[in-house]
């Protein structure tokens, strides 16, 4: 981020972004729910070139016992990137500092909406695998995980989703792609509870003025409404067109 010099491409020019989008348009988003057999709930999302799989298990007995709560289900989350998910060199498998942080903030977003009091002494596990990354993986992960949780029948106060905004050549824009993420002036991912408007995940880096912050949140909120429709459609499709076999199809 904030790279300067001759390598930095022009990101915003005469109303258009590098990939031709306007400031308030999202990349294409497709969600398919119920793609795995063993997981209690699952969802696959293609968001731009991101390809991400979410699987949910639970509520089940919380192991190890010392993690248990007498009052609620413990939410666990593992966000992980496949070693072949990036364009660059082969990644290392297993958690790193970044994936641990993202697992934590994603888990905390869901702790607000999962009605965990219904399931004392249990755990609900959310597993996110980034199969292909293209910028904005944590937002796509939250969006897919919410659908997977709904597919698992976990009671939630709301179907949440997430989207980032960025600042590119002084302009606020929604859903940064990989280039905008790498070269933009700032990046601000956030998750919303669309029903209440509450912000459940909020991160930011780079530089923003007070006005730009407000503009960014507004842009993200609008985009979040569009994403919610796609999530609802994905869940409805599972019941409208029941599948004989669960199967991940990647195009």
């Amino acid at each position: 981020m904030g790279a300067t010099g001759k390598d930095r491409p022009k990101l915003f020019d005469s109303g258009k972004r590098v990939d031709g989008r306007s400031v308030d348009s999202l990349r294409s988003i497709k969600i398919e729910a119920r793609v795995l057999n063993d997981a209690d709930g699952s969802a696959y999302i293609e968001w731009g070139k991101n390809k991400i799989l979410a699987g949910v298990y639970g509520p089940s007995e919380c192991i190890p016992r010392h993690d248990q709560s007498l009052y609620r289900a413990v939410i666990k989350c593992r966000y992980n990137m496949a070693p072949f998910s990036g364009m660059e060199e082969h990644g290392r498998s297993g958690p790193n500092r970044r994936s641990k942080e993202l697992s934590k903030v994603i888990k905390e977003a869901f702790e607000n909406v999962i009605i965990s009091e219904n399931f004392p002494k249990t755990q609900i596990e959310i597993f996110v695998e980034v199969l292909q990354s293209d910028g904005g993986t944590r937002c796509a992960a939250v969006t897919a995980a919410a659908v997977a949780l709904a597919d698992a029948g976990i009671p939630m106060k709301d179907l949440i989703n997430a989207v980032a905004v960025c600042k590119i050549d002084g302009q606020m824009a929604v859903d940064p792609g990989k280039e905008e993420d790498n070269f933009g002036e700032s990046d601000m991912p956030m998750a919303f509870s669309p029903r209440t408007g509450d912000i459940l995940l909020f991160q930011m880096d780079g530089l923003l003025s007070r006005d730009e912050l407000a503009e960014g949140i507004g842009l993200a909120r609008k985009a979040s409404e569009k994403i919610r429709k796609i999530q609802v459609d994905a869940i409805a499709k599972v019941y409208d067109e029941p599948k004989e076999e669960r199967f991940l199809v990647i195009k």
């Binding site: 795995l36 057999n37 063993d38 997981a39 699952s42 070139k49 390809k51 799989l53 979410a54 699987g55 298990y57 089940s60 593992r78 992980n80 496949a82 070693p83 072949f84 998910s85 990036g86 364009m87 660059e88 060199e89 082969h90 498998s93 297993g94 596990e125 597993f127 695998e129 199969l131 292909q132 990354s133 293209d134 076999e245 669960r246 199967f247 991940l248 199809v249 990647i250 195009k251």
Partner: protein, 256 residues
Amino acid sequence: MESINEIKRDVLSAVLAAGKRADSRGMYDYRKIVVQPAILQNAEGSAMASIGKSQVMVGIKFDIAAPFADRQNEGVLSTSADLLPLASHLFETGPPSEEAIELARVVDRGIRSSNTIDLQSFFLEEGKVLALYVDIYTLDHDGNLIDCSSLAAMSALLSARMPKIEEGKIIRGEFAGKLPIKEKVVTCTFGKIGERMFLDPSLDEEKGMDCRMTLATTSEQLCAAQKGGWGTYSERDIMELLDISMEKGKGLRELL
């Protein structure tokens, strides 16, 4: 869990003794197999394969690495397997289990010993070679992950493109033709309960079976094998399984 496996074994062996299988397959029938090649763009090669409800994804990446000390003129082939916790309630997070390491090594041996990839062509210069990473990513576990993984790995290798190299560096997103593959290696895995042997064990059958045998073959020869479990095989069993593997291999190769 022990007692459930005992019960499963009793039921399965009763069904198998009657010459039948719980899901009404023949003894040497595969479940439905689907292979999807070239599904990812960032990886140099990729594929998905499913056998019944088992689903495995494989991604191929190339990097530049130092050669092994005893093989200075050869590239590096590295195969690893992740039994992802989202694939099964039986899998946990953490360092690779014995099962994951065995899976990766069996798939690796098939690819390596068949010489399907010419590792000498991966030599770049003194102390610099290409490394080829085959990452097995299990997404759904309903038994026979070995055959499912080797199908996905072979399909991914067949779809893989050679990276473009300039001044000793890989230019990402640009390619220099396809990865040359000499042989389509496939594996056939058989379970055994009592004296009964059967192809493509489901997860239930795996839980109840005494042992398993995996045979990796090219169109002409056996190229790797692995026995698992506590049971035993006679020489005649192994010869019989090789004949079936050679026959079944033809059908598997047609899917690639």
